[in-house]
Symmetry: D2
Subunit: 255 residues, 4 copies
Amino acid sequence: MDALVLGEHTLTSRLLLGSGGATSPDALRAAVAASGTQVVTVSMRRTGGSVANGLTQELLDLPVELLPNTSGCRTAREAVLVAELARESLGTTWVKVEVVPDERTLLPDVVELLEAAETLADKGFDVLPYTTDDPLVARRLQDVGCVAVMPLGSPIGSGLGIRNPHAISLLRESVDVPVILDAGIGTASDAALAMELGCDAVLLASAVTRASHPEVMARAMRAAVEAGRLARLAGRIPRRHLAQASSPADGVMGT
Amino acid sequence: MDALVLGEHTLTSRLLLGSGGATSPDALRAAVAASGTQVVTVSMRRTGGSVANGLTQELLDLPVELLPNTSGCRTAREAVLVAELARESLGTTWVKVEVVPDERTLLPDVVELLEAAETLADKGFDVLPYTTDDPLVARRLQDVGCVAVMPLGSPIGSGLGIRNPHAISLLRESVDVPVILDAGIGTASDAALAMELGCDAVLLASAVTRASHPEVMARAMRAAVEAGRLARLAGRIPRRHLAQASSPADGVMGT
Amino acid sequence: MDALVLGEHTLTSRLLLGSGGATSPDALRAAVAASGTQVVTVSMRRTGGSVANGLTQELLDLPVELLPNTSGCRTAREAVLVAELARESLGTTWVKVEVVPDERTLLPDVVELLEAAETLADKGFDVLPYTTDDPLVARRLQDVGCVAVMPLGSPIGSGLGIRNPHAISLLRESVDVPVILDAGIGTASDAALAMELGCDAVLLASAVTRASHPEVMARAMRAAVEAGRLARLAGRIPRRHLAQASSPADGVMGT
Amino acid sequence: MDALVLGEHTLTSRLLLGSGGATSPDALRAAVAASGTQVVTVSMRRTGGSVANGLTQELLDLPVELLPNTSGCRTAREAVLVAELARESLGTTWVKVEVVPDERTLLPDVVELLEAAETLADKGFDVLPYTTDDPLVARRLQDVGCVAVMPLGSPIGSGLGIRNPHAISLLRESVDVPVILDAGIGTASDAALAMELGCDAVLLASAVTRASHPEVMARAMRAAVEAGRLARLAGRIPRRHLAQASSPADGVMGT
């Protein structure tokens, strides 16, 4: 399968994993291995850039690229500060920008997000913004220099899947940068659907880390993303109101 | 993954392929190989039991088990006759029983189906009935001795996926024999969903054979069935109306 | 609006009400009045044909036609007996035939249902069978002489609405007798949808009797059935993937 | 039913009608009468404020309040200018603010929308903004002084109904001002659903004006909005996976 280019990073896996919710470092390591992911997101705010504590070291030791996020930031200003801290701490230039002022829905505030994204892109970051499924906001994010857009399927941790496939389709048609479905994925078919709608990758955390068996779900998600990607490339049959015999009398093959 | 037992047959692949709609023997062979399937269904009616013609020989040469079906039969009597013809011709004792009197919807006639299934089970066949998503009919089919039940997701060739996941769930809870989702699958996420709902396998034809790139879709379906099966086993997170942070401040891991 | 003919009965209201779940005779009376219904179903099994007790007298005093049902019957034989009892007790010749052996799903057993329906039609009843959303079973019910078919939207009392609108559409296209959506309705939009799919009427009980305010919900359902019926007749606009300006520059009217 | 207050206007009808797409003044008049609406939206841009031409006079003669919109505006600046023109021409202080730069999706640009809404609210307008289903944007619109918010169900004229009921629910819970579902309604059950989700009113145009029989659909929509409103107030039954008998043996009433 062709590679996914996110700024300076080129990925062959199209599944990105969040580390939140993991019940232990071992569980996270096992899930990461089973998922085949090349990227794990890490929250800068709470680690404070310190690499002294064990958990952070565990993350640093994972055989993946770390993608810092601005989880917990409620304003553009906070997100910019956290992103700069991440660049200093981790030596990376990419950042997943989250600006989430509302604890109840954990939905992104697109106004603050746009401001943060523009500022960070101007500062040379490879910006990956966590956004809504609004196609016009996605295009604005592209226009201010984001290297991808990360629309939600449904609220973080809700497990509701993709509530509005139509919006994701419209969004996909509205931008040229990669689209990474982020948030809301609950199970494998959700991830497959994301790819079938034209997303270039899927980012998820709770669906794996909080599953009864995280490692098994990580394998499921790996297969689901591949399945959805292949199905998109394969060109599905159209939907029809009525039936169509798969074994027509006049078919090329008689069975 | 554990094996799927269908009467005398034990399968490790949980994807069964129909041969209908294939545009050439080579295309079918490639799709079969890519799908990893161990079973291909063949229509007895149209081949008439003759193995003299090339197309049937192509099927006979596939490195899979052939599962004869009674496609084209409109009554129980016809289905029983075709099943017996299949047993003589192919030397197999399993049969996918289809009784489909209505060309427009290609839906099974459950009254005739139940009669055919009972008769064939009494004659020693391993009966796999193509049925509706009615849980009580499925239990009746089990009670007359079917080795599995094959409910539809939506009409044959419609590509509408699983129109009633709730009914498939109820059906799954209503029988002990394996459940094979048959008909209606359009794309990979449909197949994954079938497995997540508790189906033991998926049978499809048009979704692969009529896709723009059948071999690619066959790979997609293989991955999707595996993804859905794993996701079912992994125990998905619950659905929630509101968000739940994947990186809670009080989480076990701080990221 | 044109009338709905069910055997010997001609109705102008297209909402039928079940009495089950009503918390008091007064609540039922108020709901019946608010709904505008002309028909209330009554369970013969439990009343035993006795009109001596107050509750049954309450029902007999309602300003509506009573439609006896065979609720609680698990076999065709039971249903036939109860129907005959109803004819003697109430002097009516119509009957809603329910054959429901499974307490968990309360789904109809279509095999026993078909037998009961045929027997009762032969005995001169106006048979209204509670059935699944299977179009071929519906046609069989029509063929044995039923004056209407009553497919479910989802299991009784589940409030899940119409789980498979596609099946209801196919069923509607498959029979000529009136189609009355029965079971599963949870709220007003479900009832409107039933009518938009081409159903001729809606029968519901719990959605009204168990609502927080039954009389208000009865008014809601009355309006919803009318709304859905009118919308069907009005000819809705097609669904489009993309937008279409409602105020096009070249429109006939400039606003 | 209680009244809906939109700034200086108090309405008893909860259905607002757009005039776009009407095939003739007579058709519009008939639809307006059948709908029971008290408000019709008019596009200021195209009429240019002129009341000299016949069509505008037809609108002015309707027995309703006119609500000017800024249809066709692509920026906040344009929208503000058009709103001011409307105030001068029509002597009204309310305005439906649309900022729609993208012809393909006709989705609102929430950045420009927020700017226009704030400016107009500051100038003393009663602002009704056409927005997305983003709850945080809705709250921002409330915070800058809008008297209501008008989220879309799906793209204008698409007839796709409410693509994301979950988002509309979250939006409803996120603001205190009235919520008017605007755009995407295709048929009566869509309008009922909007009200059931907690919307205070529905605005639609194409669904009525482009229906095969606009006047009949106007009646349908009137009934649907009332049905959905009543159903919301009535308190619907919960959704259950399994069945619940409506005629339980231990029910209060024996039927």
